[in-house]
């Protein structure tokens, strides 16, 4: 699972690189526009330690943001699963808010909270929160009649059991959205850094952009891709372990 993700990323990255090189040599573009392989290698050797630290910094923010989103989405999803006014309000609000591009709110957050850690965390959490919330709400508000019938008719149904049944029956859906939201959390953090933060790989990309240094941007993309592939692979692996432990089969 993990090696496959990294291998797939390398394949896509190499394809992208080949397209750029084809453009460079086909249109006879200078190294200033699209760097050659030698220039790329030199840049990689030069910025690798610093960019690796930046990606690690970004990943930490993304992971914390994602964990916060998962916890919040689970709490709100569980509270909003009922067809009460509160449940309906939560669902309507979630569907409407998720239709809005959250990243457009980033400037407000930077104005209010400055360009530090908290702003990056908040934007990362906000961007990956709504997809998780919608999935949790969908899963938790859909009764599993064939399983729940016995517990309801014999008066054994408690909210904890209801949540457990629905989570168990939709385990694949939940693990998939959690693994998928890692990309969103990472994207949210990078976008936040790109807009106004003072740390992280997004910030480094912004500086490289101002210098029109495509080689640095390509190195940053390589490191982001490797890091995200490893993280997603680990999430998928953890998901499969949870499934195996809970269902007895992978």
């Amino acid at each position: 699972m993990l090696p496959r993700r990294i291998y797939q990323f390398f394949l896509i990255y190499l394809l992208g690189l080949l397209v750029l090189l084809a453009l460079k040599y086909g249109l006879r573009l200078s190294d200033y526009v699209i760097p050659g392989l030698e220039s790329l290698w030199q840049t990689l050797c030069e910025v690798l330690p610093r960019y690796a630290a930046d990606v690690w910094d970004t990943l930490q923010v993304a992971v914390i943001g994602q964990v916060l989103s998962i916890i919040l989405a689970l709490v709100i999803g569980i509270l909003g699963r009922k067809t009460t006014w509160f449940g309906n309000f939560i669902k309507a609000a979630a569907y409407n808010v998720q239709a809005y591009p959250i990243v457009a709110l980033a400037p407000i957050i930077f104005i209010l909270l400055g360009d530090g850690f908290l702003s990056r965390l908040l934007i990362a959490a906000m961007i990956c929160y709504f997809p998780i919330l919608l999935t949790v709400l969908g899963v938790m508000s859909e009764p599993v009649a064939d399983v729940e019938h016995f517990y309801r008719s014999t008066g054994r149904m408690r909210w904890q059991l209801e949540v457990k049944i629905r989570a168990f029956e939709n385990l694949h859906k939940l693990t998939t959205v959690i693994a998928g939201s890692a990309t969103l959390a990472m994207a949210g953090t990078i976008v936040a850094e790109f807009i106004a933060a003072n740390a992280g790989i997004g910030y480094s990309i912004r500086i490289a952009l101002y210098q029109s240094d495509l080689a640095r941007i390509l190195v940053a993309l390589l490191l982001i891709g490797i890091c995200l592939s490893v993280y997603q692979g680990l999430l998928e692996y953890s998901g499969s372990l949870v499934k195996k432990a809970w269902t007895g089969s992978a």
């Binding site: 064939d146 399983v147 019938h149 016995f150 008719s153 014999t154 054994r156 457990k164 049944i165 168990f168 809970w246 269902t247 007895g248």
Partner: protein, 230 residues
């Protein structure tokens, strides 16, 4: 002990015609009774009205001395997060461990106890599901195709012992198996399609008990009556 529907009417929101109109029906004694009828005639709807999950638009259901009604059907599942044995233990009320052991043997599901529900055959699943209902406190148990996919011999054993163990309780057995209904059930309500009047025709089955002698002639007569009524 009796359960009675008086002049009930009910129409599904998606349908233009009511499924029941002024339908009356009464099971008035403990024992193993049947609700028989062709597919789509409304047996499950009627069962759900008797159980209380569906409220008729007109008429009422009275339950004389019946406090707890349970309804079970053949598509129910146990959660797959632990073994069926563990699930059965968890839903066994205190003091009913011996009954659980006895039912496990009668239903021939002992070897299923170490497995998860999803790994069982359909027949085994239905048997395990029925065992957990029989462990509960109930006055009336409505069994909607609960023994589907169970082989004839095991089904016969189960029904015989069920009648022995729960003499004071009432069962309403919904099945499409004509022979089984005629052989094992006491009162048989044949629910007919909407165009036929009356909607319910009653007949008596042999109500065969454990160790009792099968009256082939009576069973055949009952089967004919049911066939004619349906």
């Amino acid at each position: 002990m009796q359960i009675e529907c008086r002049n009930i009417s009910y129409r599904y929101a998606s349908e233009s015609e009511p499924i029941f109109e002024n339908l009356s029906l009464c099971y008035d004694q403990p024992g193993f009774h049947a609700l028989f009828g062709p597919s789509g005639v409304g047996k499950t709807t009627l069962a759900k009205i008797l159980w209380g999950a569906i409220q008729p638009s007109e008429g009422n259901v009275t339950k004389g001395r019946i406090k707890t009604v349970l309804y079970t059907y053949n598509l129910e599942r146990l959660p797959d997060w632990s073994t069926t044995g563990r699930h059965l233990e968890k839903v066994t009320p205190s003091g009913k461990d011996d009954l659980r052991q006895e039912l496990v043997d009668i239903f021939d599901v002992r070897r299923c106890l170490g497995q998860r529900f999803g790994g069982l055959s359909l027949g085994q699943q239905n048997r395990v599901n029925l065992v957990r209902y029989l462990l509960q406190d109930f006055d009336l148990l409505i069994m909607d195709e609960s023994l589907a996919n169970v082989d004839e011999k095991t089904r016969e054993t189960i029904l015989m012992h069920l009648k022995r163990l729960f003499k004071a309780r009432m069962f309403i057995y919904i099945s499409h198996n004509l022979v089984e209904v005629a052989k094992f059930c006491k009162k048989i309500a044949v629910l007919r399609s909407g165009a036929k009047k009356p909607r319910v025709v009653w007949t008596s089955g042999q109500d065969l008990q454990l160790g009792g002698e099968l009256q082939q002639g009576q069973v055949e007569r009952t089967m004919l009556e049911i066939m004619n009524a349906a």
